[in-house]
């Protein structure tokens, strides 16, 4: 029982992995599936760098076992854009200089993507409240909030759900 077989979908592609039961979803994504865009910061659910989208909801992938991802639909930062083109949210981050070192950025992008997909009219207060779960030590957040607010029109017309 200490090894588990888990099947789920990552960025639209079905995967099957056999991992130690103790492996978190974050480590599974990085080490087994080589999706190293998901960053691991604190490993105990405080920093938000490892945020991925599970069945449409932003969650901390360090606080979830890979085994618990069975049957789930997972989107990582790699799944936010198609090919090499930046998504509107990513382009907005670039435009507003919403990152410096970039370590926290994957978690903030996935969080903001999940938020705007569910709440395309989120206001600045709501964005700040949601961002309280992501630690960024470079930017001071102002540019991140601006980038997320500026990306809202791209979500207003988008199909809800993913």
């Amino acid at each position: 029982m200490s090894t588990v077989v888990t099947r789920f979908t990552v960025n639209g592609a079905p995967v099957e992995v056999t991992v130690d039961a103790r492996i978190t979803l974050a480590d599974c994504l990085r080490h087994e599936l080589k999706l190293t865009g998901t960053h691991v910061g604190c490993e105990h659910g405080v920093c938000g760098a490892c945020t991925v989208i599970v069945d449409g909801a932003a969650v901390r992938s360090c606080l979830m076992l890979a085994a618990q991802a069975d049957s789930a639909d997972i989107v990582t930062v790699e799944g936010l854009s198609e090919g090499d083109d930046l998504s509107p949210l990513q382009a907005s981050f670039r435009k507003h200089h919403a990152l410096q070192c970039g370590f926290c950025t994957p978690g903030i992008l996935t969080t903001a993507h999940a938020l705007l997909t569910q709440e395309p009219d989120a206001d600045a207060d709501r964005v700040r409240e949601v961002l309280s779960g992501n630690i960024c030590r470079c930017t001071g957040y102002v540019s991140i909030v601006e980038a997320i607010l500026d990306a809202r029109p791209a979500y207003a017309t988008r199909e809800r759900g993913r």
């Binding site: 029982m1 200490s2 588990v4 130690d20 039961a21 103790r22 978190t24 480590d27 490993e43 105990h44 659910g45 938000g48 945020t51 599970v54 909801a57 932003a58 969650v59 901390r60 360090c62 606080l63 979830m64 076992l65 085994a67 618990q68 069975d70 969080t111 938020l115 409240e129 949601v130 309280s132 779960g133």
Partner: protein, 290 residues
Amino acid sequence: MKLARIDYARPETLADAVKLLAGAGGDAKVIAGGQSLMPMLAFRLAAPKLLVDIGRLHDLKQIDVSPDGIELGALVRWRDIEDNETLARAHPLLAEAVRHVAHYQIRNRGTVGGSLAHADPAAEMPGIALTCDATIRVMGSAGERTIAARSFFTGPLMTALSSDEVVVGVRLSPWKPHRRWAFKEFARRKGDFALAGVALFYDTDAQGRALAPHIGAIGVSSTPVRLKACEAALDGSQVDAETIASVASLAAERLEIHDDIHAPADYRRALLQTLVERALRRAAGLKEFA
């Protein structure tokens, strides 16, 4: 850190979950959302041999609002409560308290049952359960039983649960119309654990006097606590600014509040008094700041 080696089981029925717990001889933990347990495992503060994942027990995801009260299944997530307008009308104090639980990503996975079973002294749900005289339903090898919230929380991260028992739900009494209530907490960053928090409600008689006030606090003791001295002082009184100030001055009475890394004891006592005063002022419809 990485988790210690562990076995993992995902039963399809509650009976199987209990069997797995009983078979592990006390060396198993139930995992649902994992938002409290996973950090414990990562720090290796907990290193059970077996994790029993109850995430597939879909019957435990129900929110039931009826004239008899409110029943929340153990697997109800904070996000489910936040999104439920019927529940917000049926129990405004619960809805308001839950708005203070943790950060966005954690709210998407953290569960009611997990918070009760984890029993962090600063957590909102145990505080609401205690303040509202909730009963907690648990299932074990000997069958189902209910435990009153006042008997459930026995110490920091300690409960009356046996090692073969799992929380299946919590029941809250029906909310009376026109009830006065408030929830206030203070954390340095929104979503962090509260340095202190206060939940309270009372009904009023025809003369506007407070009846049977329930006043609970989190973050100030080894478990959530009821502020009995405040309750006694408020009971039967007109809830005016003067009464409120005098009731609030009793907030830290009979509590052993200690210094810790987050705050000195004096600070916490003062904070608790301030929160009781603001909560009572809010409940009475006064301006929160005198």
